[in-house]
Symmetry: C2
DNA sequence: GTCTATATCAAGATAGAC
DNA sequence: GTCTATCTTGATATAGAC
């Protein structure tokens, strides 16, 4: 019970830290700001996270774990066959714009906090990506295709979190369709359930063929 | 003359700032560190850039301008036809691994410095990307394809600068081939120079990348 | 244009009361 | 476990000599 309460407090403190980054940017991710956001004193905050490094580390670990759970669930929901993980990413990573934005905001705050605080803190994220790319790179699609799709999704993420390119629902749909067309042609099996999203399986132009 | 000298000094100071970020990370991008790296005093540095914001602003503007020049040149070197800008990005953005790395390092230092210092300083980068995506989104390829390719390249850039996924020459080649196959099929015109070459010896000069 | 010296301040972290 | 008060450091920026 005590443990559960403590865990809940930690979680709310991490929420506060994310909120600070999202609203004020990483330059303003200070212990004072997090404490104020959480409605606690700096001393109280430092009781749960004895240093700023530990706080950021916890932010990254939580985000990494969420990400891992998220794509594993998507994998389970996706039909078997070549490119299963890749198709799972397409259906979950580019689903609804609003959900996507929320996830983006949260993950970006952790990643950038780590980058600013101490780049080595990104490590948990590396482990998740390591597993993800292992799965995506070896699932029967033509060489490099799974990796290309994953990279494209993360490119969109980058555009969105930096505001480099306006990413709206229309753009997401355009890009998803283009990527799905590639994957579908590379792995034409099981066209019945290619994607869990109804309007995502509309492929007009025939794709290319490869070895 | 005086102006040219001043401009050269400014450029060398920006080089020093990039070097600091690359070697020590953005957390250590301080005026002291930049001054030391450039072999000048902090007072001298502040004569050229009256505040840290101005210094980072100049870093971003220089990087953005390099990027713009870079892809415009690549465009000129690329054969006419559908997807010209997209093909230009593929040939120049994913050319030689070493050149690419160098460009990555430099561009990432500017972008992340801006992110840490003051996100609004990214603006010059936005303008360049705005133009780039305008060109890539409307060149006769199937809908979303140009944007997907551009996003994939920037995804690779992200992997590389954060070390999220190991990006080596082999991976670059794999992804490039997958993307080229898409573009080639969508725009089969001018097969002579499109990049039917397995190793894409299309245009390899001045490799390098974006953002 | 470059330097040294210094003012100013904010942030991370500690100590100890409650 | 949470608080207030305080210590310490390091970073930006200014002032003014050379």
């Amino acid at each position: 019970m005590t443990r559960k309460d403590t865990s809940e407090v930690r979680d709310s403190l991490l929420d506060a830290a994310e909120a600070v980054v999202i609203r004020q940017g990483i330059a303003n991710l200070t212990l004072d700001a997090v404490a104020a956001e959480a409605g606690i004193s700096k001393g109280g905050l430092l009781h749960h996270f004895p240093s700023k490094d530990r706080l950021v580390e916890a932010m990254v670990m939580r985000t990494a774990e969420h990400l891992r759970v998220h794509y594993r669930e998507a994998y389970e929901r996706t039909s078997e066959g070549p490119g299963r993980m890749t198709r799972a990413l397409l259906s979950t990573g580019l689903a609804d714009c609003n959900c996507w934005s929320e996830q983006c905001r949260r993950s970006s705050s952790a990643v950038f906090a780590a980058l600013a605080q101490n780049p080595s803190l990104i490590e948990p994220m590396r482990e998740v990506y390591s597993e993800l790319h292992r799965r995506v790179a070896d699932e029967g699609l033509s060489t490099g295709l799974g990796e290309a799709v994953a990279a494209a999704l993360d490119g969109l993420w980058l555009y969105w979190v930096l505001g480099l390119v306006p990413v709206d629902q229309e753009m997401i749909v355009r890009v998803r369709k283009a990527l799905e067309a590639m994957v579908e042609h590379s792995a034409p099996a099981k066209p019945a359930r290619l994607s869990s999203n109804p309007n995502a399986s509309d492929v007009k132009r025939s794709g290319g063929r490869r070895s």
